[in-house]
């Protein structure tokens, strides 16, 4: 019972946190592009992963400070975003498993249902990402956009600028 209450409270806090970030992100002039999101989604899902061990997540999270030159406040913001994503990823997993359990192969209908869940998850992650970008220093936001942008530039260059 006590655990359930804590879980409920954490979920409420997470939802509130996401809501606050979403409201703040609305003032962000340039939300993350799709290419920028690819890296930032990798980063956030690593911080919130239900599969990876807590020690590995901690070391990965610590590596972000020298990677992006984060202040303590920025590191805390990213940590909180990862924490708020975790229950969402757990819920995403449960929902997708409910579709796939016991099936050797999926129907088109199943695949569409999973695709809808993925789109919903990615939308939630995008909200968190834009909340981070809106609340860190401009130079930090630029650095965090960089991985996705340089990869996109590489793709463009290798495709002859098309």
């Amino acid at each position: 019972m006590h655990t359930n209450r804590i879980t409920t409270m954490l979920l409420r806090i997470s939802i509130l946190f996401v809501f606050v970030l979403a409201v703040h992100a609305q003032t962000t002039p340039t939300p993350a592009t799709a290419n920028e999101l690819e890296y930032l989604q990798f980063m956030l899902t690593n911080l919130a992963s239900p599969d990876h061990s807590s020690g590995a997540i901690k070391m990965y999270e610590d590596s972000l400070r020298p990677q992006f030159g984060l202040t303590t406040e920025e590191a805390s913001l990213i940590h909180a975003s990862g924490q708020s994503l975790k229950p969402l990823l757990v819920q995403f997993r449960a929902s997708s498993q409910a579709i796939t359990n016991g099936k050797a192969a999926l129907t088109d209908s199943d695949s569409k249902a999973i695709a809808a869940l993925v789109a919903q998850r990615n939308s939630q992650i995008a909200t968190l990402v834009n909340g981070i970008l809106a609340n860190v220093r401009p130079e930090t936001a630029e650095r965090m956009r960089m991985p996705g942008n340089v990869v996109a530039a590489a793709i463009k260059a290798t495709q002859g600028g098309k």
């Binding site: 020690g55 590995a56 990869v151």
Partner: protein
């Protein structure tokens, strides 16, 4: 040489496709990726598949993917026979293939534990690569997760092949080192030998998390390769080859000699592993009295740009350990991103950077260039030269940048710069200013590790 580090990472492709596909059974998936398959995407239904034969990619121009976009752990390929060489491999001559959204579980504890089966194999027992793309070709590998590799997790060997956004040895569900099923910690899920082995030409690793590999987290033995933005954490965990080395190794063979690599913007943290009392979560035996570096570099023309290399039990960087090496550049600048966060070589237990050319092989280092290096809080010298000569005028030791021959070399337990110069020494062996960053004075950037100096872990030593 390409103008960008990513010039040939072409296939790092489009990211937000959530279009519903018809996910396939294992048998249909095998057919789809084979030489007679049809369609451009072969998607395996999510679930766990125990394999007794490898899945072979037999045609070009396709995407091979798991059942849930950007959720690699939802579609698991697990080794089902101890003799299985690879879980998935590419045929010769395959090009333009993307592999994504899959977990590779090497299942090293599924056939015996604590040395039995393939749980703790040795170099004499080599012969397993969980994702083997060493037959050449061009691949993009992204959003994969590797655990429990009994030897090598991933081998790339083509031209302009890339691995990105993938995890190695971060933990997950599977058979644990005690033989029971459950959730493995990151160290329990360690790769026994190298996590990412990159041969070939102009290939690279971008923004991966590579942890707990038994030898190097990433090894390069090709030419013009790129290692950019990765996190390498506590690699050389098992020291399964019996001796210390680098978390990132630029290696002279057996597939080719590493040359002209660009290593940029990575964070390489040794976690002060191992200590004198360390034991392994894998149930294997840890060799005694071994220490490891952040980078172990051999070869010609390598360039190291603005990497954070910290908390290793040996040097931050060990350059040349007995093989022909020269024209090495170490810089705190990222030439592809001027506003990058400045990073240090810091808090390593021995020297920050060691250029080591024992004269026994008569192969002095042929030129190094140090540009505004940031080296602090190491347990030995900041920078140590042995038997290091000039190469023309471009690689003569500390170089002028912004009009100053500067560096930030501070708080090391030994001398800031020193060496063994009885054979060769660089003509510019010392900077003019030890507290100068990009032409300034007393303006060294913020450090990231507060330990000053690093613990040596050596009994009787004062730090």
């Amino acid at each position: 040489m390409p103008k960008t580090p990513f010039a040939l990472a072409a296939a790092l492709c489009c990211l937000s496709s959530t279009t519903a596909l018809h996910a396939l059974s294992l048998a249909d998936f095998q057919t789809c990726i084979g030489p007679s398959g049809v369609g451009t995407t072969c998607q395996l239904s999510s679930g766990t598949y125990t394999l007794s034969t490898p899945l072979v990619i037999g045609r070009s121009g396709i995407t091979v993917e798991g059942g849930v976009w950007q959720s690699p752990t939802r579609t698991v390929l697990r080794r089902g026979a101890s003799g299985l060489y690879a879980l998935m491999e590419g045929s010769t001559g395959i090009t333009s293939v993307t592999v994504r959204d899959l977990m590779f579980d090497g299942n090293r504890y599924g056939f015996g534990t604590r040395g039995a089966g393939i749980s703790c194999i040795t170099t004499e027992q080599f012969g397993k690569v969980d994702l083997d793309l060493s037959q050449g070709g061009t691949f993009t590998v992204e959003w994969l997760d590797f655990i429990n590799a009994p030897e090598t997790a991933l081998h790339l060997a083509g031209i302009s092949t890339a691995v990105a956004f993938s995890n190695f040895g971060m933990g997950g569900a599977g058979i644990k080192p005690d033989g029971t099923s459950g959730t493995l910690t990151d160290m329990e899920s360690a790769t026994r030998f190298t996590a990412v082995y990159i041969s070939g030409y102009q290939s690279g690793a971008y923004y991966n998390s590579v942890c707990n590999a038994g030898t190097a987290g990433t090894t390069l033995d090709g030419q013009y390769q790129y290692v950019y933005g990765n996190y390498l954490g506590r690699d050389r965990y098992e020291i399964s080859d019996g001796s210390g080395g680098g978390q990132l190794t630029l290696w002279p063979g057996p597939w080719g000699t590493a040359a002209f690599a660009s290593v940029t913007g990575n964070v390489i943290n040794g976690d002060y592993w191992p200590t004198s009392t360390s034991t392994l979560a894998t149930g294997c035996t840890l060799p005694t009295s071994q220490i490891s570096s952040g980078v172990e570099a051999n070869g010609t023309g390598h360039r190291f740009f603005n990497n954070e290399i910290e908390q290793n039990t040996s040097d931050g960087m060990s350059v040349n350990l007995g093989n022909s090496t020269g024209q090495i550049t170490v810089s705190s600048t990222n030439p592809w991103y001027a506003n990058d966060a400045p990073r240090y070589i810091e808090a390593n237990s021995s020297n920050g950077i060691t250029f080591l050319a024992p004269p026994r092989f008569n192969n002095h280092i042929e030129g190094v260039a140090l540009h505004d290096v940031l080296v602090s809080g190491n347990g030995g010298y900041g920078v140590f030269f042995q038997n290091t000569a000039d190469y023309g005028t471009t690689h003569v030791g500390f170089m002028y940048d912004y009009g100053v021959k500067g560096a930030c070399i501070q708080s090391n337990a030994g001398l800031a710069v020193g060496g063994d110069t009885q054979w060769y020494a660089p003509s510019s062996m010392y900077p003019d200013n030890y507290s100068s960053y990009q032409g300034g004075s007393n303006n060294c950037p913020q450090r990231w590790v507060t330990q000053t100096p690093a613990p040596s872990n050596m009994p009787g030593w004062p730090w």
